[in-house]
Amino acid sequence: MRYTKPLEDLIEEFRKFPTIGPKSAQRMAFTLLKKTPEQVEKFARIICEAKEHIKYCSKCFNLTNSVICEICQDPRRDSKQVCIVESVKDLIALERTHEYRGIYHVLGGIISPLEGISADDLNLTQLTTRLQIQLDEMNPEDELELVLAISLSTEGEATMLYIKRLMSQFGDSRIKLTRLAHGLPVGADLDYADETTLARAFEARVVA
């Protein structure tokens, strides 16, 4: 037996979300059906409003409900430190550490020919434009640090190398590129880490 058409359609829509399989989609649809009409209307309204009001920050591509995001607008944040991340998800993860006081640039992806993603699909021309404006306003002795907070996968390394090339084409000695030290996961046993992580952590060791 099949579900009635409206229910089928609903399940189908849920299935379009990442990691949602047929079983989960069904459960979600039934949960929705159990709600009162008012609850469902509220839910629908929230979805529409989210779509309407949430936009990409025109400077850093973080999500925002205005033109410029809160981080970019915050005068206490150091605009001479720009952290480059793959996605808004990574930005949020870094924000949770409360360590970083600079601003961001969200690439919106990572170079991966196998998935048809090339450098042109990332927010990189926007990055160079924005850095150019910033450099024009800066003193000659100031420094602009770009922190590459990108994963150490093959695709991440390709993306970092590409950005490095882009920046060297700027030919501006005020730009300083850094990348995160590849450390051991906190709390992990030393002998539990894989060879590569361990070797890299050793390489990146600091004075104790």
Partner: protein, 377 residues
């Protein structure tokens, strides 16, 4: 290195079996298709993660069952080792070593084995990829960083090839057709590719350098002649220039034309290519020599000989070579031999060996009702 016991549940044609090894030498005897090779395959999987003949994990699971469990106890450098491996049809594995969960590839670093199978003559006769597979599986046990480096290279290779294919599909057949962003991306893939390729090639070349003199010594002893065995690894360190040289071909084929995935290894007898000139017997002697050399390298790297698995190979060797093989192996080394019958050659050897008879996935003479541990889930 000594495997003390194996408990199998749903592995190949073993529904349930428990095996204790109590001698350094074990002879597994049985008619054709009873499960002798399957038993050696268990140890291959415990040491190499994969076996040559199983293309997927579902091949390893008993036809009528959903999953297979291998439970092994072993001793390595006087330390006890307990391994529990759950193999699912889906390919997802669960591994516990001394009751702690590990990634499946961790198997590479605990139990070491060298196997000598009938089809190993293909290392000489077969395609270059067969030789590269052999190199990769041996080096992965000798150098614990190798597998990661190889995987990294393979990922970069796949991305780089895909990058070329995309360019070709978009109608760019030459470097000059590329826009600056594409040129930069090509340089990025080149840079990553060169580093990863050289890592793999370097370790392979190193391995051959260490193996060659030992294998050559064994070869001259086996053949009783002064014929010189040489191994020539044709892999070269590459640089930007090397990539530029094949650029036109890379574009034309949408594929990376130089690198460790294309490297060849040559076996030479007195300078002549074995795969073209050597006799069948000489080829078997070469295979025997490199296997014995593998044992020595394990001893050097790990301080102990690995387990030697001999699958039906004795029958393929003449009497002198059979004797040579059995006598040149260190008496403390664990050796497991499969055979359909104990012929003259095994008579002397079988005196102090444990003899195990296999029939239709059952180990005869031992109780298969032995309590099994199901502690892996």
């Amino acid at each position: 290195m000594f495997v003390k016991s194996l408990k199998l549940l749903g592995f190949r044609n073993y529904i349930e079996a428990a095996i204790e090894f109590n001698q350094p030498k074990t002879i597994i005897i049985g008619k054709n298709a009873q499960g002798k090779t399957n038993l050696l395959e268990v140890i291959q999987i415990l040491s190499h993660v994969k076996s040559r003949r199983a293309s997927r994990d579902s091949d390893l699971v008993h036809f009528d069952l959903g999953e297979a469990i291998i439970h092994a106890t072993a001793e390595r450098n006087q330390e006890e080792l307990e391994i529990a491996l759950l193999i699912r049809r889906s390919g997802k594995r669960t591994l516990k070593i001394n009751e702690i969960s590990h990634k499946p590839n961790e198997l590479l670093h605990h139990i070491f084995s060298v196997s000598f199978m009938v089809d190993d003559i293909e290392i000489i006769n077969g395609s270059p990829s067969r030789r590269r597979d052999w190199l990769d599986s041996v080096i992965a046990q000798l150098d614990f960083g190798y597998k990661d480096k190889l995987t990294k290279f393979e990922k970069i290779l796949a991305q780089r090839n895909s990058f070329f294919k995309e360019l070709v599909e978009a109608g760019s057949y030459y470097y000059r057709d590329l826009n600056t962003s594409q040129q930069d991306q090509l340089m990025v893939w080149d840079e990553l590719y060169i580093a990863a390729a050289n890592d793999v090639t370097g370790l392979r070349a190193n391995f051959i350098m260490e193996l060659e003199p030992i294998a050559a010594r064994y070869y001259s002893e086996i053949s009783g002649s002064d014929t010189v065995l040489a191994l020539d690894y044709m892999g070269m360190q590459i640089d930007q220039e090397a990539l530029e040289e094949v650029r036109a071909r890379d574009f034309a084929r949408g594929y990376s034309n130089v690198g460790p995935h294309r490297d060849e290894l040559k076996f030479l007898l007195n300078g002549s290519l074995a795969s073209s000139f050597a006799s069948q017997g000489e080829r078997r002697s070469i295979t025997l020599a490199i296997k014995l050399a593998e044992l020595e390298l394990h001893k050097t790297k790990h301080g102990e000989y690995p387990i030697l698995l001999l699958d039906d190979v004795l029958a393929e060797l003449d009497e002198d070579r059979q004797d040579y093989l059995l006598e040149s192996v260190n008496p403390q080394t664990q050796v497991i031999i499969t055979t359909t019958h104990i012929g003259k050659h095994l008579e002397k050897w079988s005196e102090n060996a444990q003899i195990m008879e296999i029939e239709a996935g059952r180990v005869m003479g031992t109780s298969s009702e032995a309590t099994l541990c199901y502690d892996i889930a």
